[in-house]
Structure formats: structure tokens, C-alpha cells
């Protein structure tokens, strides 16, 4: 059977190209390690400097609400988001800490705070000018500010006996309460493992015309579809090894796998196939391994950035599919691969919830393969 012979030959060549194989399967696991180190070193540990400009109320010697608020803030323990409120002697020191990133935000307890609380207790109407400060472009500032406002409001409501006419109930989506940034990055990193197939696949396809061994295949009149399918199957195997290695590395670094393994595998196989389909286009428009390595950088970055592995990108919606928005980044199959893996691994979604992503990946895979097959055959496998 010719297909089996092509698979055997392609597999043998692949395992003998040790460096290409090692680089292909180890890149994503390597990035898992890098991401782990990045997130570990930037683990959320919010620091808020608090300056207390308040003093005891002149009329009530036991009323020192500024100091009391400070102690309350210092005692706060948040299980979800680690935050620490620290007293700082003056505003200048607090500002310097924010500038030096020793603190993510600063809160100024205003002078006369205790008097204001007492006045409110007696039925007066006051608005206390609390000041918050920090780098508005930093997410950590925003989180610190929200937490600061929440705790200060809670304390004031408590000491003034005020009751807000609402309260929020927080319900975590899926496993999100147990997640961290590292965990959230894993679906993208798993897709990264498939992206590397673009190079190994294109090299496997283009090496035949480059080394002129295509002549022997053309003379044998092997059907292009047989030859290309054989190589694609071997590349899927390489992709799966890389994905499983990435998953195992993630597990070693603390990633807790959940969701359907078979659905996970289906998404991975489809994503691998789509990238291999794209690699066929790449091999079709190039003539040598060197050209693949140069030309391939452009789609590599498209695949990487549009997959959301490194940055989350939202593009304009082109159309919707079962409520699933197909955006411009969605033209690259890895975008849907990442979305599907997020759903499966993080939100434990089933096939009924990720079918739009599966349809999108499958559709793009077919398109990539058809285009790739047409170009490759026309350029490299024509016989008369």
C-alpha cells in the first residue's frame, strides 16, 4: 500500500532529522517553562500604601476612626487576590513607593475623617474626600483601587451604620476561581505546539522538489494526494507528541488538567491538520528549505498573534456562527483552536458548546488544504 510506504518513509526521515524534530516538539514545552517563570515572578501580590492624615476627634478622645480604618485595612485577608495595606508616614513617601513600584496604589485618609464619621453618626450629611492614586495604565492599580474602595466603603458603612441598598454576589465561571494567569495561558501554549508544525510540515513537503527526489515520485506516478496525505499523517503524529509533551510539562508546573480528554484530542488533531494544510501552501509557494524558513516567518507571527497565545486580540466580526463571532483573527485556525481549548480545559465545555470552533477549524483546514494542494501540485508535481 503506497500510503503506508509514504508514511513509513516520511516517519523514518523525520526521526533522523533529530534537530528539526527536537526543536519542533520542544518549543512549546520550553515556553511553558518561560511562562511559568514569568507568572511566578509577577504573581499577583498587591501592595497599597495608606497615609493617615486623620487625628483623634477633638470632642471625643476615643474616636480615632482614621487609625481604626488603618488597622482594619492592615488586617484584611483576601483569599482570592493577595493584597496588603501598609501604613506610610507621609504622602511624599507613598508617592515615591508608587513611582518605584513598591506599591501599586496609595490611599489618603483625609484629615478630619473621624469628625466626619461622628457627624454622620449624628445624622449629618457629609462626603469625605478620600484620595486614591497610582499608575492608571496598570491593571494592578485598578485592582488595588477597587479593593481599596471596597474595604474603605465597607468600613465606613460599618461604623456609620449605613446599609447600601444592594450587595453583589460573585459567582465564578467554570473553574475560574481556581485559575491563575499561568493556567489561562496553557491553551494558547498547547496551540503553539501545533504552530511549529508549519515549519516541520513545510520542510517535509518542500524537501522533495528541492532535492529533486520529486522526480522519482513523479516518474512513479504516485498520486499527489497519497504522497501528501502520508506526510501529513506523520506531521500530525509529531504535533501530537509535541502537544502531549507540552501538556505534561504544564502538569509538572502545576497545571491541573480538566475537561474531556477526547475532546481535547479532537481539537488538537484538527488544529494540527489545519496548520499542516497551511504548511502545504507555504511549501507550494517556496522551492527550498531556506525559502520556507524566511517566508514562513510571516504566517508564523500571524498564527502566534492571532492565536491569542501572547496577546488577546479582538478583531471586527465578519459573521456569526451559532452565536460564535467569526473575526478577522479567526481567519487563522489557531485562533479557534485556542478558543476551543480554553472552553474544554477551563470551562469543561462539551462538544455541543464548542461546535462553532470545531466547524471553523475544520472549514479552514479544508480551505488551507485545497489551496495548498492546488499550488503544490501545480508547482511541484505536474506530470503529463
Amino acid at each position: 500500500m503506497k500510503l503506508l510506504a509514504v508514511i513509513r518513509k516520511s516517519f523514518t526521515e523525520q526521526i533522523r532529522q533529530v534537530w528539526i524534530l527536537l526543536l519542533t516538539i520542544s518549543m512549546a514545552p520550553f515556553f511553558v517553562g518561560i511562562f511559568y517563570l514569568i507568572y511566578k515572578s509577577t504573581a499577583l501580590n498587591l501592595q497599597v500604601s495608606v497615609v493617615n492624615l486623620d487625628s483623634q476627634s477633638a470632642g471625643h478622645r476615643d474616636a480615632d476612626f482614621g487609625k481604626e480604618l488603618l488597622r482594619y485595612l492592615e488586617s484584611v485577608k483576601n483569599d482570592t487576590i493577595p493584597v496588603a495595606f501598609n501604613e506610610v508616614s507621609d504622602r511624599a513617601t507613598a508617592e515615591e513607593q508608587v513611582r518605584n513600584k513598591q506599591a501599586h496604589a496609595m490611599i489618603i485618609i483625609p484629615a478630619g475623617f473621624s469628625d466626619s464619621i461622628l457627624f454622620k453618626r449624628e445624622g449629618g450629611n457629609v462626603r469625605v474626600p478620600f484620595e486614591l492614586s497610582g499608575n492608571l495604565t496598570e491593571t494592578n492599580y485598578m485592582i488595588s483601587a477597587i479593593l481599596g474602595i471596597t474595604y474603605v466603603s465597607g468600613y465606613i458603612n460599618s461604623v456609620t451604620g449605613t446599609l447600601e441598598p444592594y450587595h453583589f454576589i460573585e459567582t465564578p465561571a467554570g473553574l475560574s476561581s481556581k485559575l491563575n494567569d499561568f493556567t489561562l495561558a496553557i491553551p494558547g501554549l498547547l496551540v503553539l505546539a501545533t504552530i511549529m508544525l508549519m515549519f516541520s510540515g513545510a520542510i517535509a513537503f518542500v524537501v522533495e522538489p528541492e532535492k529533486k527526489t520529486m522526480l522519482r515520485l513523479k516518474l512513479s506516478r504516485v498520486r499527489p494526494v497519497t504522497f501528501l496525505t502520508g506526510i501529513a499523517i506523520v506531521q500530525v503524529l509529531v504535533g501530537l507528541v509535541s502537544i502531549l509533551l507540552t501538556l505534561w510539562t504544564s502538569y509538572l508546573f502545576g497545571f491541573d488538567f480538566s475537561g474531556s480528554f477526547w475532546l481535547f484530542l479532537l481539537v488538537c488533531v484538527l488544529t494540527c491538520l489545519s496548520v499542516i494544510g497551511f504548511s502545504l501552501i507555504l511549501a507550494g509557494v517556496t522551492k527550498s528549505v531556506n525559502e520556507v524558513l524566511v517566508v514562513g516567518n510571516f504566517p508564523l507571527f500571524l498564527f502566534m498573534f492571532f492565536s491569542g497565545t501572547f496577546f488577546s486580540i479582538q478583531g471586527a466580526t465578519l459573521f456569526t456562527l451559532g452565536g460564535y463571532a467569526f473575526t478577522i483573527p479567526g481567519l487563522m485556525s489557531t485562533y479557534h483552536g485556542t478558543e476551543a481549548l480554553k472552553q474544554v480545559l477551563i470551562y469543561q465545555a462539551g462538544i455541543s458548546e464548542i461546535w462553532p470552533q470545531l466547524v471553523s477549524i475544520s472549514g479552514l483546514t479544508i480551505i488551507y488544504f485545497l489551496i495548498g494542494y492546488w499550488i503544490y501540485r501545480k508547482r511541484h508535481m505536474v506530470v503529463f
Partner: protein, 246 residues
């Protein structure tokens, strides 16, 4: 293997833009014959061979094998074996692996492909290298491997392009004996710049230049046609001139 095949090129023509690479050539190669196909660089030999093999579409004319086109011929793909001028093999496969793979591409059962591979490697002095990857072979061994690859599916027609290029004297002798042994059972078209090689191996020689066949005859007749003690090189130079080709 099929019985020896008669090859006919009728009015075969190929143009590349303004260049007439092959100009209405008519050629017959008899069954079991070794035909030397000689010509200066750029004469049109390779283009003609590519059309013979179905790798290039002629602008005009046709190539017939036993009066049938390659497509009409039953199992036409197994009819031809080609040893190109450059060594064409899979660097990271062993000699045996690529022989078997090539055989399987021609629908040979794996077992038969294996036995034929070992047999051919033996005949070409490569049996001790059967398990070695092609990239680790010497230039001469690679050349012999390429001949073996052209023959693994037992073709009735064989195209050999400079088969002795890069071979040492011992290997050349082995190769000549091997090619001579093919005569009768296969139709062979041998392209070469080595006049001695053509003289020793060919039953007839065709000389081509500027896309046209200039003469076709036995080496002896060609040599006698310009005088006693003439060599095939003398004939070649007389017909194609001394002008260097690009």
C-alpha cells in the same frame, strides 16, 4: 518485466519562448537496443528525454512506446526507469530503504521490492552498504545507487543520463558491464558527453544539436563516414562544430 519496447519520437517539438529547444525530431529506438544520445550542452537532450518520460509536455509531436502513448500503455508508469544526471536519492534513507520505497511506489509488493533491492545492490557492488544512509556514501556509490533506483521496478525502458559521471575506473568497468548486461532485455537510451563510453556501450548513436537530430547510425558507420582511424569524437566535432556552447 515487459518484453523490450520500441520507442518512436514523431515530430517531437518543444519551445521555451523564442528558444526552439527540440525541433521536430523523429527518432526510432529498436526493442532491446542501447541508443547513445549525444549532443553539446544545450543541444536539447535533456528536454527531449523529459518529454520521452512524460515529465514535460511537447508543443507538438508524440512519443510512442510499441505504437502507444505512455497513457495508453498498460501500467505505463512501470515502463520507464530513469537515472538522471544528478544523483537523486533520499539522503536520510538507507540504500535498502529507498530501494524498497521506490519499488513500493511502483506497486511492487514489499517482499518483492526487498528481494529485488538486495539483488540490484549486490550486482552494483553495494550490498555491504545496504544499511547505510545515502548521505554517508561516496560519490561513486551514490551514482551506482541511482542506477539501482532506476531499475528496482524492472522497467522495460531505461534512460541513463551520464551514468559514468564521477566514477573511478573500477566503478566504470563495473557500470559498463552492468549496462551491457541490460542490452537485449531492455531498451536503453544513454545520454553522455563521454564519447568513449558511447562508443563502447551503444548499438547506435544519435547526435543532436540545436534541437535537431543530425545523424543516427552505429558507432562504426559514423566513424567510417569521416575516414579510417576516426573516433566518435571526430564525428561529433565535425557534425556540431568547435564553437563553445553556453
Amino acid at each position: 518485466m515487459l518484453n523490450p519496447i520500441k520507442i518512436e519520437a514523431i515530430n517531437l517539438t518543444k519551445r521555451f519562448g523564442e528558444l526552439m529547444a527540440v525541433d521536430h525530431i523523429n527518432l526510432e529506438v529498436n526493442p532491446g537496443e542501447i541508443l547513445g544520445f549525444l549532443g553539446p550542452n544545450g543541444a536539447g537532450k535533456t528536454t527531449a528525454i523529459r518529454m520521452f518520460c512524460g515529465l514535460l509536455k511537447p508543443d507538438e509531436g508524440v512519443v510512442l512506446y510499441n505504437s502507444q502513448s505512455l497513457h495508453q500503455f498498460p501500467d505505463g508508469k512501470s515502463l520507464l526507469g530513469v537515472c538522471p544526471q544528478e544523483n537523486v536519492h533520499w539522503e536520510r534513507l538507507t540504500c535498502k530503504e529507498q530501494m524498497v520505497f521506490t519499488g513500493e511506489m511502483y506497486n511492487l509488493p514489499r517482499k518483492l521490492a526487498k528481494s529485488r533491492s538486495l539483488d540490484l545492490l549486490e550486482q552494483l557492488g553495494l550490498s555491504s552498504q545496504a544499511g547505510k544512509q545515502a548521505r554517508r556514501l561516496s560519490g561513486g556509490m551514490k551514482r551506482r545507487l541511482n542506477i539501482a533506483l532506476a531499475l528496482v521496478h524492472d522497467p522495460a525502458v531505461l534512460f541513463l543520463d551520464e551514468p559514468e559521471a564521477g566514477l573511478d575506473p573500477q566503478s566504470r568497468v563495473l557500470m559498463r558491464e552492468f549496462i551491457t548486461g541490460l542490452a537485449g532485455s531492455r531498451t536503453v537510451i544513454l545520454t553522455t558527453h563521454n564519447m568513449d563510453e558511447a562508443d563502447r556501450l551503444s548499438d547506435r548513436v544519435a547526435i543532436i544539436d540545436e534541437g535537431k537530430i543530425l545523424r543516427v547510425d552505429t558507432p562504426e558507420n559514423l566513424k567510417h563516414s569521416i575516414g579510417t582511424n576516426s573516433t566518435l569524437e571526430d564525428v561529433f566535432i565535425q557534425l556540431t562544430g568547435k564553437k563553445l556552447r553556453t
